[in-house]
Subunit: 177 residues, 3 copies
């Protein structure tokens, strides 16, 4: 039997990392994956402050050392001076996929006009796909519903492990060969 | 009582700057703001030719010396060789917000298929939000209707003054704290 | 009578360039143009492997030496490690027009959720407009239907030859002067 696929879940938040409040965003991502995936996987959860080098270091560790084919990140994509997650992600990625950010903003815009302020994005570092999600749990679900259908096929193309989803929960799409 | 918030309005146009024709785009922006805002503000109007250094110099002056939390720019975002406003804006911004350009093109596309040729965008230089609008007055209004609802909250997040809008004219949105 | 306008059609594919299978994408582009254009034109067809320098060399030749006002490219925009067409295109372009990629992904998304994985884009090198289309013939048509209406006007603005389309096939748009 295949060993569980490691999936990185990184929360970026000054306040949660200081214990000022509880991180609800990382758990929301883990719950989403638990519902969506039927193939074996294990979460590798991380929590760091809004510091560019802390974020890059954690992403590099999850990608290069822990071989996560998927790293989902929450927090730090807005316009506040402390929001540096996109800069950190660009630092470590070799390729950017603009369609993720476009589509996450498009679906979020149906809910709030301030969605245009989000710098959500996705890129790859080697064989790892890194996706920046919003901070609020309800917005995380909206965005994952929009982009998750394409993620398993993306990981296939990157040469990673095959992720199988519960199609009753989320309709993952792989084009016919 | 608070002093009026300075808002930069920059028209970029070879012909208008030479007096060959009247600038109607800068006034269209000023009229829009006059209708939309209820808190005190004052326009700082500028008019320059399609020259990269003229544009960057003016943006830097409006942002750094005159402390405009918002700078609205019209002209120079198309494919013509003289259109250099996006390049100049990238020169001076520390961050780009792709959602503005995406949304302005999306709403303009409902009117003309050539909207995909526009390189409209937005970014920040320190605490100043710079937004590149189209050149034609009617398109300016279409684009401001699409993105203005998010602008006051963006300025809040950048640490700037609170702009209050006439909600009967434009529904500005601030998420609940 | 005007000499025919040269239009570059570049297929990027390891397998087609090795003769492992027949290139159907380049011909699909040529057929589209044959239906769409009524002014005289001639296809300059090229076929290269997924090698960054082979792509850049061919684009430079079509743009600088052969003076193509339009170069349509198919293949190599996905997430696979061998997909390097966007990188090669960025190498040779002086300007990027984000609206093309946004719109091609938006229309493709109505058909498949994996459209967000595409790094389709367009840019200019001097007076040449380069557009990256998808690999599959049916997707090529979907994307050309979405962006071709803006292409002749873009070439006008770049100072190139006037392309006339069969408006019964594709509604090309030029704004009133």
């Amino acid at each position: 039997m295949a060993s569980p696929v490691p999936i990185g879940i990184l929360t970026v938040s000054d306040r949660a990392s200081q214990g000022v409040y509880e991180d609800k965003s990382g758990p929301a991502i883990a719950e989403y994956l638990a519902r969506a995936l039927v193939s074996p996987w294990q979460p590798l959860r991380r929590l760091v402050a809004d510091e560019r080098t802390a974020i890059t270091g954690t992403l590099i560790d999850l990608a290069d050392n822990l071989a996560c084919p998927l790293i989902l990140v929450t927090g730090g994509t807005g316009p506040s001076p402390r929001d540096v997650t996109p800069e950190a992600t660009e630092d470590v990625c070799d390729r950017i996929f603009p369609g993720f950010g476009e589509q996450m903003r498009a679906v979020s815009l149906r809910e709030v006009p301030t969605a245009i302020l989000s710098r959500q994005m996705a890129g790859t570092r080697g064989k790892s796909l890194i996706v920046l999600l919003p901070g609020r749990p309800s917005s995380i679900r909206t965005c994952l519903d929009a982009v998750f259908p394409a993620i398993p096929y993306c990981i296939d193309l990157l040469g990673g492990p095959r992720l199988e989803a519960n199609q009753a929960v989320i309709k993952v799409f792989r084009p016919p060969a």
